[in-house]
């Protein structure tokens, strides 16, 4: 019969329309009352998939990457970075700039005095975090970085980039545990 295809199609639309309300009734607190701040949608979910940002936000997976951050030890207050420069060498848009510290005699030592990342160039690829041999640079989850001026707001210096290791451990629980284990194993091997 002519027109049956269209009618059947509207059946699908009607079902989807109903799904959104069923989903809202089933789930507490209600989305439409604005009570769910964080939305976590899985493959079992039906109903509306659009998220009303910024009132609602998604939960981010652990590996989510945005702009790099530098890690500083909680107890000793020392930076993990040794200014080796691998991150700057591997960075595809070349947005990392490191100045190495010097001792009294003018010889370079393994510590950065300055560390800049130009976030307006950074392409969030995560290669710096992937290849850092000291686990000193990791990808931050903070993505609300909009600013009115590119310079100096989006050129982050060392202080702006640095976070504590405990912050990192909270963002990346699994990865942090794995790294700490690998570190402990290495130290054990060395002591033997």
């Amino acid at each position: 019969m002519f027109g049956l295809g269209v009618v059947k199609g509207f059946g699908v639309t009607l079902k989807r329309f109903a799904d959104t309300y069923i989903d809202d009734v089933k789930k507490i607190p209600s989305r439409y009352a604005g009570q769910r701040g964080v939305i976590d949608q899985g493959p079992e979910d039906t109903g509306i998939f659009t998220i009303q940002y910024p009132e609602e936000k998604r939960t981010l997976p652990e590996r989510f990457r945005y702009i790099p951050m530098l890690l500083r030890d909680d107890e000793t207050g020392e930076d993990r970075c040794t200014a080796c420069g691998i991150c700057a060498k591997v960075c595809p848009p070349q947005c990392i700039w490191i100045v190495r510290d010097k001792d009294e005699n003018g010889r370079p030592i393994t510590r950065p005095t300055e560390f800049y990342i130009d976030a307006s160039i950074c392409m969030s690829c995560g290669l710096c975090a992937e290849f850092c041999p000291f686990d000193a640079i990791k990808m931050n989850h903070e993505y609300e970085l909009a600013a009115f001026d590119r310079y100096p707001k989006l050129v982050y210096d060392k202080e702006e980039l640095t976070v504590l290791v405990s912050y990192y451990a909270k963002l990346y629980p699994t990865q942090y545990t794995e790294e700490e284990k690998a570190r402990a194993d290495k130290a054990e091997k060395k002591s033997k």
Binding site: G5, E62, P92
Partner: protein, 494 residues
């Protein structure tokens, strides 16, 4: 692959367009980027750059306005010792460099016609006075899926000629690729066809692995296939949804398909850290192993959710009379013509030719999976839609098999290094990307940066067939013909 040695000063070659009309756009591009003239080309024009662009950027002696160094990593981004913008070094007004005898005031675009002109000899019956009208679709037009322009000459509503104009999103991916080191280039390939970054990664990585002579371990191969096929599902769903958008079914079908795509993007994000620009594959493996719980979630999506969603979509669209009326018989081009115009991908398979690189020249581990290549021979927009639907099912089937077979083990051959040693030589790797044959051609001279890097972009080359497919149809049909080619401007313009 055709090779020719030419003098640097006045390079000129006979055109191959009389034999393969599908070489037209590529020859335009070679003239534009390399400065090689083609004798006998029907309409040689600068296709990606504009006429006021001085020089041919892919030549080794050409330097960009913000030139820093020949290859990355740069010795210092800020040699002055403090942060400085590249734009400050070469101010905006100072970076434009016109070629000799070029005056932007009097310049006329190569693809412009008189907007309205009298039809020579009337409209055929000699009584009605008709005029030809040129309609500029784009570059800002919702139907063009980006910044793409179609200059169509119409008689009434019928298209009598149509020229694609592109390059609005051009960033010279290939020149950037030659400046980059091999590993730096992986995130840039994400940005080609940004709807299917995993496939782009795979093609590039396969080309470099061919040169290096390494193979990834089993588990990595399986992960790659799963990712590439999930990408195909994403890309085809997107394409189907937006074809319906082009037909005027504004956003309801598109959002239904995007909803399923969303779940796959979530999987990508959990594995790689990004939804669209994944940057997941490495030479000889993948970045990181799948996180815990990923396979279970993927199982739910692939075994439960997607088959149901595809069935529902099929019920929703395939027999819809409006779609049939708009799509059947539109954009017809026979199989021979499609081959002559170098078309690849779903468009070719909608013309009865079962040509799929995964079958004819299996790469990675595609020879282990059981899947069918669609055979539809309508050669029209409707069959292109059905081919995509069919391929989504087959892709889901491949992922299902891969998920059952995936072994435990390593995900990286050798040690992961930030500087890979690629021996001198050349390699071409091609894969069946969602849009068609995606090829990467790499010439290495043993240095950290590739000497030559070239992408065979299916979205770009498939556009050769746009004009012949549109001629004789109504202007409204050109929109869905373009929608069924399924271009992504990031790849078309590179």
């Amino acid at each position: 692959m055709l090779k020719a040695r030419l003098p640097a000063e006045t390079p000129e070659l006979p055109s191959v367009t009389p034999v393969w009309p599908g070489a037209e756009l590529q020859e335009d591009e070679i003239w534009d980027l390399y400065g090689i003239k083609f004798d006998g080309h029907p309409f040689l024009r600068r296709i990606l750059m504009w006429d006021g662009f001085n020089g041919h950027p892919m030549r080794k002696d050409w330097k960009e306005a913000f030139f820093e160094e020949e290859g990355k990593p740069f010795s210092s981004r800020w040699p002055e010792g403090h942060h400085a913008w590249a734009e400050d070094r070469v101010p905006w007004h100072g970076n434009v460099n016109y070629p000799d005898h070029f005056d932007p005031e009097t310049w006329k675009e190569p693809v412009t016609f008189e907007a309205v002109q009298d039809e020579p000899g009337g409209n055929g019956n000699g009584r009605l006075h008709t005029q030809r009208i040129v309609v500029n679709m784009g570059p800002h037009h919702p139907s063009t899926h980006g910044v793409f322009r179609m200059v169509a000459t119409l008689e009434g509503e019928t298209i009598i000629s149509l020229k694609p104009v592109m390059g609005y999103l051009h960033r010279n991916h290939e020149k950037i690729g030659e400046r980059n080191t091999f590993i730096m280039n992986i995130p840039y390939t994400d940005r080609l066809d940004y709807l299917s970054s995993m496939s782009n990664n795979l093609g590039y990585v396969l080309a470099v692995e061919k040169l290096m002579g390494i193979k990834p371990p089993e588990r990595a191969e399986y992960i790659r296939v799963i990712m590439a096929e999930l990408t195909r599902v994403c890309s085809h769903l997107w394409s189907i949804g937006f074809l319906l958008n082009d037909l005027g079914a504004y956003f309801t079908p598109a959002l239904y398909t995007i909803r399923e795509r969303e779940l796959i993007l979530d999987l990508f994000e959990e594995a790689s850290g990004a939804r669209m620009l994944c940057n997941y594959m490495r030479f000889g493996g993948v970045t990181r192993d799948l996180p815990t719980g990923w396979l279970e979630k993927c199982n739910t999506v692939v075994f439960d959710r997607l088959p149901r969603a595809i069935d529902e979509l099929e019920r929703y669209l395939t027999n819809n009379e409006i779609i049939l009326a708009r799509c059947k018989g539109v954009g017809y081009l026979s199989a021979e013509d499609l081959v002559r115009y170098s078309v690849s991908g779903p468009m070719l398979r909608a013309s009865g030719l079962q040509y799929d690189i995964r079958k004819v020249e299996p790469y990675s581990i595609y020879d282990r999976f059981d899947f069918e290549v669609p055979k539809f021979d309508g050669c029209d927009v409707y069959d292109r839609y059905r081919v995509r639907m069919f391929e989504v099912r087959q892709a889901v089937k491949i992922v299902q098999q891969a998920l059952k077979q995936i072994p435990e083990g390593e995900i990286q051959t050798g040690k992961k290094a930030y500087q890979v040693r690629v021996p001198a030589g050349e390699a071409y790797a091609r894969i069946e990307a969602p849009k068609g044959e995606l090829g990467f051609y790499i010439v290495s001279d043993g240095k950290p940066n590739p000497y030559r890097y070239r992408v065979r972009a299916p979205s770009f080359i498939n556009l050769n067939a746009l004009e012949p497919m549109c001629i004789g149809y109504k202007i409204a049909d050109s929109v869905i013909v373009l929608g069924a080619i399924d271009i992504v401007l990031g790849e078309t313009d590179r």
